[in-house]
């Protein structure tokens, strides 16, 4: 059942034909394209802020000894780098892509709940202003890791309530966004678009939205318990009062593990759109790809213990979590094989979206391999809380999620702006990023295996060489991202006019490619019939 655009045609003859002007357009935006744009601009800004923190971290770690900052400030940087990248860069970027593309892909005029959509977005600048302000209050920003383990996190200074409130706001934003996605997809698909015909990006977001609704409230519960332990003398996580710090870990990671799948499933969806286009061949095994995403999502709920193997876990639990974690490799592997089979006997060209998608395939897989190694419980006792873990999650998040986002942006940017962008600059951005992301993170595997713990501002001298290499990679990778901003800004301001199909010769499937570029401010005001 889809909501027909009949009510939209009634609106058509009022002043909504043209967007509002000035600040009102953005403050009161209800158009999914405007809200999507705001999310994307916001996330790019947060990416640079979180990235600047990473540059400072790598600068301190360039050499042994402390050169730039006190250890407590270093801990504030590592904590907030993660919070900003996860909640400010990766998640809002995917929401921005969802806002722009889901209505276009399913032939809907907008998201189902446009005003709630506006609220979901505008919570975020407030939440992050609050979060960043924590650096300025006595005691400084949170410094106990983004994982907020008590009792350490309860030693946070005056900024503690600001941190908790900011997290609550981010969570509310995500939950409302997820509700919007589900309601839109379930109710507003064009006639003839049954679920199995829906594009993979929309599918990946449908499943991600359910994950968000399931786990963001759990995070809210966990941080609220921290708040009451801190201010209201509860003892959820205080053994002296009958509580248990490890219980926090359970609650946090019950959120935290699905959270990392929330951060990767939309990227899987994007890759599943890009590879077929530039291989000029349909996605191999599309139905099985959908089942794989669903299995990964389901399995993500029963593996959280793998973050806690060294905390004194009973044998039965160690065995269970080892097996469930290893099991996730199966549907993930299926996806990698299907993507490869999509390229197999295709006809490949290597435009920037395709370059990022291919890099994703290789480098995300490397992150997957280190993940498999981490799943082997006894070996994990040597890897846990070392740079090996840092290398693993940065491989799946940076050349994984972030490259997925960049691939999506490079893929759909001409549809949004109406202009082809500077291919040379985009390719330069790609090559610099792809090379230096490896220089930055690959040596961290060695550091972890050689015995370097994580979250330390200074290290024993035998870790010097790889830290230096990693820092150089970090500076180069960070600087290269400026090219991304330049390409985007240039494309907004002008460039060769893009056709509806944008990627000539590839004949991409998907309703978005039936619209002119740029897509009209109000698109699919009448639902397309694709029966």
């Amino acid at each position: 059942m889809s909501t027909h655009a009949a009510s939209d045609t009634a609106h058509h003859d009022d002043h909504h034909d043209q967007p509002a002007t000035g600040i009102k357009r953005w403050l009161f935006a209800t158009n999914h394209k405007d809200i999507g744009t705001m999310y994307l601009v916001f996330s790019l800004t947060m990416f640079f802020i979180g990235g600047a923190m990473a540059m400072l971290i790598r600068a301190e770690l360039f050499q042994p000894g402390l050169q730039l900052m006190q250890p407590e400030f270093f801990n504030q940087l590592t904590t907030n780098h993660a919070l900003i990248m996860i909640f400010g860069a990766v998640m809002p970027a995917f929401v921005g892509l969802a806002n722009w593309m889901i209505p276009l892909q399913i032939g809907a005029p907008d998201m189902a709940l446009p005003r709630m959509n506006n609220f979901s977005f505008w919570i975020l600048p407030f939440a992050f202003t609050l979060l960043l302000s924590t650096f300025l209050v006595p005691g400084g920003a949170a410094a106990g890791g983004w994982t907020l383990y008590p009792p350490l996190s309860l030693q946070t200074g005056d900024s503690f309530p600001m941190l908790i409130f900011a997290i609550h706001m981010m969570g509310i934003s995500s939950i409302m966004g997820a509700i919007n996605v589900i309601v839109t997809i379930m109710n507003m698909r064009a006639p003839g678009m049954n679920l199995l015909k829906m594009p993979l990006f929309a599918w990946s977001w449908l499943i991600t939205a359910y994950l968000l609704i399931a786990v963001m409230p759990v995070l809210a519960g966990a941080v609220t318990m921290l708040l009451t332990d801190h201010f209201f003398k509860t003892s959820f996580f205080n053994a002296a009062g009958g509580g248990d710090p490890v219980m926090f870990e359970h609650i946090f990671w019950f959120f935290g593990h699905p959270e990392v799948y929330i951060m990767i499933l939309p990227a899987f969806g994007i890759i599943s759109e890009i590879l077929p286009t530039f291989s000029r061949k349909p996605l191999f095994g599309a139905t099985s790809m959908i089942y794989a995403i669903a299995s990964i999502a389901f399995l993500s709920f029963i593996v959280w213990g793998h973050h806690m193997f060294v905390d004194g876990m009973p044998v039965a639990a160690q065995l269970f979590y080892m097996m469930s974690t290893m099991l996730i490799a199966v549907p993930t592997g299926v996806k990698v094989f299907n993507w490869t089979a999509t390229m197999w006997r295709g006809s490949l060209t290597f435009e920037p979206p395709m370059l990022f998608a291919i890099a994703f395939l290789f480098l995300f897989s490397i992150g997957g391999f280190s993940g498999l190694m981490l799943a082997i419980v006894p070996a994990d006792f040597q890897y846990n809380q070392t740079y090996f873990v840092v290398a693993h999650f940065h491989y799946v998040l940076v050349p994984g999620a972030i490259f997925g986002i960049m691939a999506g942006v490079y893929y759909w940017l001409p549809k949004w702006t109406g202009h082809m962008y500077n291919m040379t600059l985009a390719k330069a951005h790609f090559w610099l990023s792809a090379i230096f992301v490896n220089v930055l993170f690959f040596p961290q595997h060695f550091l972890g295996l050689a015995g370097m713990p994580r979250r330390i501002p200074d290290y024993a001298v035998q870790f010097t060489d790889w830290n230096m290499v990693s820092s150089i990679g970090g500076f180069a990778f960070g600087l290269s991202q400026i090219l991304f901003a330049i390409v985007i800004v240039q494309s907004i301001r002008g460039g060769k006019k893009a056709t509806a199909e944008v990627w000539d010769g590839t004949h991409p499937t998907g309703l978005e490619w039936t619209l002119p570029s740029p897509a009209p401010y109000h698109s699919f005001t009448t639902a397309p019939d694709i029966r």
């Binding site: 000894g65 490949l348 290597f350 070996a379 040597q382």
Partner: protein, 319 residues
């Protein structure tokens, strides 16, 4: 500006494209190549017997088992990577539009192949899980340990309280003073001039080789974690709870082994190392007698109670 560049016929640009396509094809393996090329880096062992880019084999049966499992999984991953990346690279080179490849748009689906590439990974995973499960069970067996030591994490030092034959021995183990001076912000001291920088303490834990040692870990404040890579021994120290772990250093592997706190515990998380002095059982007995004699003297009103010092460490620490 055209999007696909397959239209250009110029031989220079063809050669360039071939070169860049080859570069692209090899890019996928670049990370592994980087890893292998890193063999050129001379790795200096220091904290432990790691060669600088792999786990140490270590000096306990536990660490040997962990190393073996690690290498097994590693080689399985390498083998899978070679196959999968090989197929990807082949596809990237062979099926290029610029080389005239025509897409086979009928190749979209194969239930048979999906089943095969689901079953084979499951088989590989089961094969990896079985030896791992055996080691899990072995790690949990703390029965018949010959020496137990209570280890308490503090912000930011360790406390060791001996039980069994060492009952009564109790001392703190803190970052050595020379490291502590050098690590201060703008200290002006080059870390490379400090012996075992950040990995030296005033009073190491002393244990006998060839003996099953059991640690009972807890914390006085926040969550810490005790880790010596060469022992393969790591466990969290959780306030209000006691975690158990055991290891047995091989006879003949006496010496000093170093590790660090491995759970973020605040400002000086990076500055509370773990140092273990492994001695022969006879030397350990002598040490225990010395400590107990010193304790008796202190209790009898003699010299004020001092934490027992290890002679070996005294020579390097500037106390």
């Amino acid at each position: 500006m055209s999007v696909t560049r397959g239209d250009h016929d110029d031989s220079t640009s063809r050669a360039l494209r071939r070169a860049s396509a080859t570069a692209r094809a090899l890019k996928g393996a670049s990370a592994t190549v980087l890893g292998l090329a890193a063999l050129g880096f001379a790795a200096t062992a220091g904290a432990n017997t790691s060669n600088g880019y792999n786990l140490p084999v270590g000096v306990t049966s536990l660490s040997h088992d962990l190393y073996a499992l690690h290498m097994e999984v590693y080689w399985v991953c390498v083998a899978i990577a070679v196959v999968v990346f090989g197929v990807m690279i082949y596809a990237l080179v062979k099926f290029r539009h610029s080389q005239g490849a025509v897409p086979d748009t009928t190749l979209v689906h194969s239930t048979k192949v999906e089943i095969i590439w689901t079953i084979i990974p499951v088989v590989i995973l089961v094969a990896m899980a079985i030896p791992a499960a055996k080691v899990i069970l072995m790690m949990e067996d703390t029965r018949n340990s010959e020496l137990s030591i209570r280890v308490t994490g503090y912000q930011w030092k360790w406390q060791y309280q001996y039980m069994d034959a060492g009952e009564g021995i109790n001392f703190f183990s803190t970052l050595s003073r020379d490291s502590n001076f050098a690590r201060q912000l703008h200290s002006g001291i080059d870390p490379k001039t400090v012996p075992d920088y950040l990995l030296n303490v005033d009073n190491p834990m002393v244990i006998p080789s060839g003996t099953k040692v059991r640690l009972l870990l807890t914390s006085q404040d926040v969550i810490h974690a005790w880790w010596v890579p060469d022992f393969g021994a790591k466990r969290s120290a959780v306030p209000g709870f006691v975690n158990e772990l055991w290891f047995k250093v091989d006879s003949g592997k006496e010496g000093i082994y170093r590790g660090q706190c491995t759970s973020l515990c605040g400002r000086d998380h990076g500055f509370m190392p773990v140092v273990v002095d492994v001695r022969t059982p006879d030397d350990f007995k002598k040490w225990v007698e010395q400590q107990k004699a010193a304790l008796k003297q202190a209790a009898a009103g003699g010299a004020p109670a001092q934490p027992p010092r290890s002679a070996q460490v005294l020579s390097t620490a500037t106390n």
